[in-house]
C-alpha cells in the first residue's frame, strides 16, 4: 500500500544515513575489543592521569570561556541598545572564520619569548628573559584562551537566535509582573533559551575535545595528543582506539548531562517572535561596559590576530602566492560547498526521521550520527579508510570478475572518501541546528498538516522546511566554514596533487615557517569570512524574515492539498 510506503520510506532512509555515518565511529569503537600491542598498560600507568586531568580542565575552562564571551554578548546585542551594537551584532561572529590552530600560531608568534611583545618589554625595561614572569602562551591556559576565542560564536549564534526569537509576549509579561532586566534574564529569557545555548555549548565543547592542532602545538597532553602518541610513537593503533573510545565516552557524558539537565521540558514557541520588543537602552558607564564586553572577544578573537597575519604576510609571506592559490582556493571552496550540502540534507533526513519515529532505534541512530564531531579528524579518517577501502577492494574484484575491467580505487581514490569523512565529522553541527529548529515547531503543526491529508514528505516540504530555512542555512554555513578549516582528515584522505588552503598553511607551519604560513592562514580566514558574514547577516535581521517564513509555513500548512 502506498500509504504504508510513505510512512516507512523517510525513517528508513534516515536509519540508512545514520548507519552510514556511524560506520567509521563504530569501526573505531570496535578496535577496543582487539588485544592491544602492549602499550595500553604503559598508557594507563604513566600517561592517562595527565590526559584525564588536562582534558577535563580544558573542557571546563573552555566551557566557562565560551559562555562568558558568547552568552554575555548574545544577550547584550539582542535586547540592549548601546553604541556600536549594530556593528557588533554581526562582527561578533567573525572569530568563527579562524581555525583554532591558526589563532594559536598567531598568538604564539606575538607572545612567545622571542616575539614582539616580550622583546619590547625587554627593550623598555632592560630585563633579560629570565628576570620577569610573562604568562606562557603555550600552556593549558593558553589553549583554553585560544579555543574560547574561536569557539564562543557557537554559543553567541545560537543564543542570539534564541533571544531574538523568544516570544515578545513572554518577556513583556515578565516585565509587567515586575521583573527588572536581570531577573527577566535569569528567570525567563535564559531558561527559555537553554536548549539553544546548551546546543551551542555542546558544539564548542565537542570541538574542544576533538582539537588537535592547538594542543599539539602548545604541548598540552590531552586525549587527542595521546591518541597520536599511542598510535604513532608507541606504534599501537589498538591503544589509540581505546583512547578514542574513552574520548567518545566523554562526549556521551556531555550529551547525557545535557539531556538530564533539560529533563522532560519542551520548548515550543507559540507566540509571535519579538519583532517590536522594547529594548533596554543603556547609557553612561553601562553602555561603556557593554561595548567593552563586546570588544574583548571581537578584538582578541579576530581583529588583533587578523591584523598580525596580514602584517606577517605583507612583510614576508608565501613566495608561492599567485595562481597556485586560485587552485588551492577552488579546492577548499568546492569541497566545503559539496560537504555542506550533503551534511544539511543528511541532517534533515536524520532529524526528521527521529521526529516521525521517535523510537529507541531511531534515537540511538540519531545520537551516534552526531558523535563524529568530537572525534579527532585523523581518527575519523582511519575509521573512514578501513570500511571504504574494504568496499573498494570488493568493488574492484566484482567489476574485474563480472566485466573484466580494472577500475582502481573508486571510493578512496577521489574526493568521495574525504567528503564522507567531513560529513561524519560535521553532521553533528548541521544536526544540532536542524534539531533546534524542529524542536521549536510545535507538533500541533505536524498534526494539522497531516490531518489535512499531507504525507510526511509533503509536510516536511511545505511546513517544516520553510520554517527551518534559517536553520538550514545556518547549518550549511557552519559546516562550510568547518570544512574549510579542517586539516587532519584532509591530509590523510585527499587525492593526488590535491592541496587545500589548510594543507598549504599546515605544510609551512609544520616546517616552522610561520611567516610564510601566514599567507595561506589569512586566505582561509578571508575565504571563511564570506559565509561567516552571511551567517552574521542572518543573525542580525532574522526577526522579520522569520516572521514571514513562519507565517508562510503556517499558511501552506493550512492550505488544503
Amino acid at each position: 500500500m502506498s500509504g504504508n510506503r510513505r510512512l516507512l520510506s523517510l525513517p528508513l532512509t534516515a536509519l540508512l544515513v545514520a548507519g552510514l555515518v556511524a560506520l567509521p565511529v563504530l569501526t573505531v569503537a570496535l578496535h577496543v575489543l582487539l588485544p592491544d600491542e602492549g602499550a595500553w598498560r604503559h598508557i594507563v600507568d604513566v600517561l592517562l592521569p595527565d590526559y584525564l586531568r588536562n582534558t577535563m580542565l580544558l573542557v571546563a575552562g573552555t566551557a566557562v570561556g565560551v559562555i562568558a564571551f558568547g552568552l554575555t554578548t548574545a544577550w547584550l546585542v539582542s535586547v540592549c541598545r548601546f553604541p556600536g551594537r549594530r556593528l557588533f551584532e554581526w562582527a561578533l561572529v567573525l572569530p568563527l572564520a579562524f581555525p583554532a590552530y591558526v589563532i594559536a600560531y598567531t598568538y604564539t608568534d606575538l607572545l612567545q619569548v622571542s616575539g614582539p611583545v616580550q622583546t619590547w618589554i625587554r627593550e623598555i625595561t632592560g630585563w633579560s628573559a629570565r628576570e620577569y614572569w610573562f604568562p606562557p602562551i603555550r600552556s593549558l591556559g593558553g589553549a583554553i584562551a585560544m579555543l574560547s576565542l574561536v569557539l564562543y560564536p557557537y554559543v553567541y549564534l545560537l543564543g542570539r537566535a534564541a533571544f531574538v526569537q523568544q516570544s515578545s509576549g513572554v518577556l513583556e509579561a515578565a516585565r509587567t509582573l515586575g521583573c527588572g532586566p536581570w531577573r527577566g534574564f535569569f528567570r525567563v529569557a535564559l531558561p527559555m533559551a537553554r536548549p539553544a545555548l546548551v546546543a551551542g555549548l555542546l558544539l564548542a565543547l565537542m570541538e574542544t575535545l576533538a582539537d588537535f592542532g592547538t594542543v599539539a602545538y602548545f604541548g598540552v597532553p590531552v586525549f587527542t595528543t595521546g591518541i597520536y602518541r599511542a598510535w604513532f610513537s608507541l606504534g599501537d593503533p589498538v591503544s589509540a582506539a581505546k583512547l578514542s573510545a574513552m574520548l567518545l565516552a566523554f562526549v556521551l557524558v556531555l550529551v547525557a548531562l545535557e539531556r538530564w539537565n533539560r529533563g522532560a521540558m519542551r520548548f515550543h514557541q507559540v507566540g509571535a517572535p519579538a519583532a517590536q520588543r522594547k529594548p533596554y537602552q543603556l547609557r553612561g558607564w553601562r553602555a561603556l561596559l557593554a561595548v567593552l564586553a563586546c570588544m574583548v572577544p571581537l578584538g582578541f578573537g579576530f581583529v588583533l590576530p587578523a591584523a598580525r597575519l596580514a602584517w606577517l604576510s605583507w612583510v614576508g609571506g608565501d613566495a608561492q602566492f599567485g595562481t597556485r592559490y586560485l587552485g588551492l582556493l577552488w579546492n577548499s571552496l568546492s569541497l566545503a560547498a559539496v560537504s555542506a550540502v550533503i551534511a544539511v540534507v543528511a541532517a534533515v533526513i536524520v532529524g526528521y526521521g527521529l521526529r516521525l519515529r521517535p523510537g529507541p532505534l531511531m534515537r540511538g541512530a540519531h545520537r551516534i550520527a552526531g558523535m563524529g564531531y568530537a572525534i579527532p579528524g585523523s581518527v575519523i579518517a582511519v575509521g573512514v579508510l578501513i570500511p571504504l577501502a574494504a568496499a573498494d577492494q570488493g568493488l574492484r574484484g566484482l567489476l574485474a570478475s563480472w566485466f573484466g575491467i580494472e577500475v582502481g580505487l573508486l571510493l578512496t581514490g577521489g574526493i568521495l572518501g574525504l567528503v564522507f569523512a567531513y560529513v561524519v565529522r560535521f553532521l553533528a553541527v548541521s544536526l544540532q541546528s536542524v534539531d533546534a529548529g524542529l524542536a521549536r515547531i510545535t507538533p500541533a503543526m505536524d498534526d494539522a498538516a497531516r490531518a489535512l491529508g499531507d504525507g510526511p514528505g509533503r509536510t516536511l516540504r511545505r511546513v517544516h522546511l520553510p520554517i527551518l530555512r534559517v536553520n538550514l542555512l545556518t547549518a550549511g554555513l557552519i559546516v562550510f566554514v568547518d570544512v574549510m578549516k579542517e586539516l587532519p582528515a584532509t591530509l590523510i584522505l585527499r587525492p593526488f596533487d590535491f592541496d587545500t588552503l589548510a594543507v598549504q598553511a599546515y605544510k609551512l607551519a609544520a616546517d616552522e615557517r610561520l611567516a610564510e604560513a601566514s599567507t595561506a592562514s589569512l586566505a582561509i580566514v578571508v575565504a571563511g569570512l564570506i559565509p561567516v558574514i552571511l551567517l552574521a547577516r542572518q543573525v542580525s535581521q532574522p526577526a522579520k524574515r522569520r516572521e514571514r517564513s513562519e507565517a508562510r509555513g503556517l499558511m501552506q500548512a493550512t492550505t488544503p492539498a
Binding site: 544515513v17 614576508g316 608561492q320 582502481g408 590523510i492
Partner: protein
C-alpha cells in the same frame, strides 16, 4: 497528490554520491593507465605516485628536476608518515602508490615491518649510499641526513663540559635546557640511539637528568628552542641542523641576531659521533610503476639531486663527494657522524617513548 516527493531524498542522495564517485574517478584516472596497460608506450614517460611525509617546499623543485630529466611526471600526496603507511596498507594491491618517502628512519623501519616495501637491487644505489643508511635488502634507502646538535647562548654559557649528549643531563645546567616534546620523532630517534649506545637504564637516567634541567615545559619546534636561547630564556637547546642553517641564510635581521648570539656544538666528536637521522624512501610492494620509481630513487642519489637536498633544504647529502653548495652548511663545518645503523632507531622507538614518558618528558 504529490507521490513523488516523499521518496525524493534517497534518489537525490544517490545522485549526489554517484556524482562524487564520478568526480573521484575522473581525478583518479590519470595514474591508472599505468596499472592497466604497462605495455602501452607512454609518450610522456608515464607517471609515478609519491606518498611523501616530507613537508619542504623545495621538494617541488626536486620533482620538477626529475620530470625534466626523465619525462616521468610526479604526482604526490603529502601527509603524516603513519597516516600514509596506513593508507597504503588499506589500499592494498590497488594502491596507486609507487614510492613512500619519509623523514625519519623509525618510520621507514615501521613501514618495512608492515610489508609496505619491495626489495630492490640497484648497483647505482648500493654503490652510492653507505650501507648503514639503507636497508640490507634494498627495501628503503636514505637520501639525506640531518644532525641533531646542541646550541648554546654564547653570552652566558661556557661550552666546555658540554661536548656530549650525555652532558645535557649534568646538574650544572639546571634550569638552562630547552628542547621540544618527548613525543617528537627527532627526540625519539635520539633517545633510541642513546638506548643503543648506553643501555636502557642509563638512557632513562639521562632522560630524567635532562627533564630536571628543563628551563620550561617542552613546547614548540626546533626553531623555537633556538630562538629561546637567543632571547635568553634558556642557555642550551637541541635542534636539527637544517633549522639553524635556515636562520643563518635568512635575510631577516631578527634571524641574523639569533645566529649572532647562538653557538653550536656537534656532540660526541671524541667518541661515537653526532646522531644523524635520515630522510629516505622505498618502492611500494604493489607499485604500478616500479621501473619509474626505481628511476626516481636513482635520480635522488645523483650528484645533482643530492646537491639539491643541501641547497634547497639545508640537509646533508648521503653520497660521497656531492657538493654542498650551501654557505650555511659549509660554515657549520664537517663533523664525525655516529655510524649507527638507522634501523636501530626504528627498533628502539617504542621503548624510547616509554622511557621518555616514565622520565616525565612531556
Amino acid at each position: 497528490m504529490h507521490p513523488r516527493f516523499q521518496n525524493l531524498f534517497a534518489p537525490v542522495l544517490a545522485v549526489l554520491l554517484a556524482g562524487l564517485a564520478l568526480y573521484g574517478c575522473s581525478r583518479e584516472s590519470t595514474p591508472e593507465p599505468q596499472a592497466q596497460a604497462p605495455a602501452e608506450a607512454q609518450p610522456d614517460g608515464g607517471v609515478i605516485n609519491i606518498y611523501s611525509a616530507r613537508h619542504y617546499q623545495s621538494d617541488e623543485d626536486l620533482y620538477q628536476a626529475f620530470t625534466d630529466a626523465t619525462g616521468i611526471r610526479v604526482q604526490r600526496i603529502e601527509g603524516k608518515d603513519d597516516a600514509l603507511i596506513e593508507r597504503i596498507l588499506q589500499e592494498g594491491d590497488a594502491s596507486p602508490a609507487d614510492i613512500l618517502f619519509t623523514v625519519d628512519a623509525g618510520r621507514l623501519w615501521r613501514a618495512e615491518q608492515a610489508g609496505v616495501f619491495q626489495a630492490v637491487s640497484s648497483s647505482v644505489l648500493e654503490e652510492r649510499i653507505p650501507s648503514n643508511l639503507r636497508h640490507p635488502q634494498g627495501k628503503w634507502f636514505g637520501f639525506s641526513t640531518r644532525a641533531r646538535i646542541i646550541y648554546y647562548d654564547k653570552t652566558r654559557i661556557d661550552p666546555t663540559g658540554l661536548q656530549r649528549y650525555e652532558d645535557l643531563a649534568d646538574p650544572r645546567w639546571k634550569g638552562e635546557l630547552c628542547i621540544r616534546s618527548g613525543s617528537n620523532i627527532y627526540n625519539l630517534s635520539l633517545m633510541a640511539s642513546l638506548i643503543a649506545a648506553d643501555g636502557l637504564e642509563e638512557a632513562e637516567n639521562w632522560a630524567r637528568g635532562v627533564v630536571a634541567n628543563f628551563a620550561r615545559d617542552p613546547q614548540g619546534g626546533d626553531t623555537d628552542q633556538i630562538r629561546a636561547v637567543a632571547a635568553g630564556e634558556c642557555g642550551i637547546a637541541v635542534g636539527n641542523t637544517y633549522y639553524f642553517a635556515r636562520l643563518m641564510l635568512s635575510d631577516d635581521p631578527a634571524d641574523q641576531a639569533v645566529v649572532e648570539r647562538v653557538g653550536w656544538i656537534f656532540p660526541n666528536q671524541e667518541d661515537r659521533g653526532t646522531h644523524v637521522n635520515i630522510s629516505g624512501a622505498g618502492i611500494v610492494a604493489s607499485a604500478p610503476n616500479a621501473a619509474g620509481a626505481l628511476e626516481f630513487l636513482e635520480f635522488l642519489a645523483s650528484p645533482e639531486a643530492q646537491t639539491r637536498f643541501a641547497r634547497g633544504n639545508n640537509e646533508y647529502p648521503v653520497v660521497e663527494g656531492a657538493a654542498l653548495d650551501n654557505p650555511a652548511l659549509e660554515t657549520l663545518g664537517e663533523f664525525k657522524v655516529d655510524p649507527m645503523d638507522a634501523t636501530v632507531y626504528g627498533e628502539n622507538q617504542a621503548e624510547a617513548q616509554r622511557a621518555l614518558d616514565r622520565a616525565g618528558w612531556k
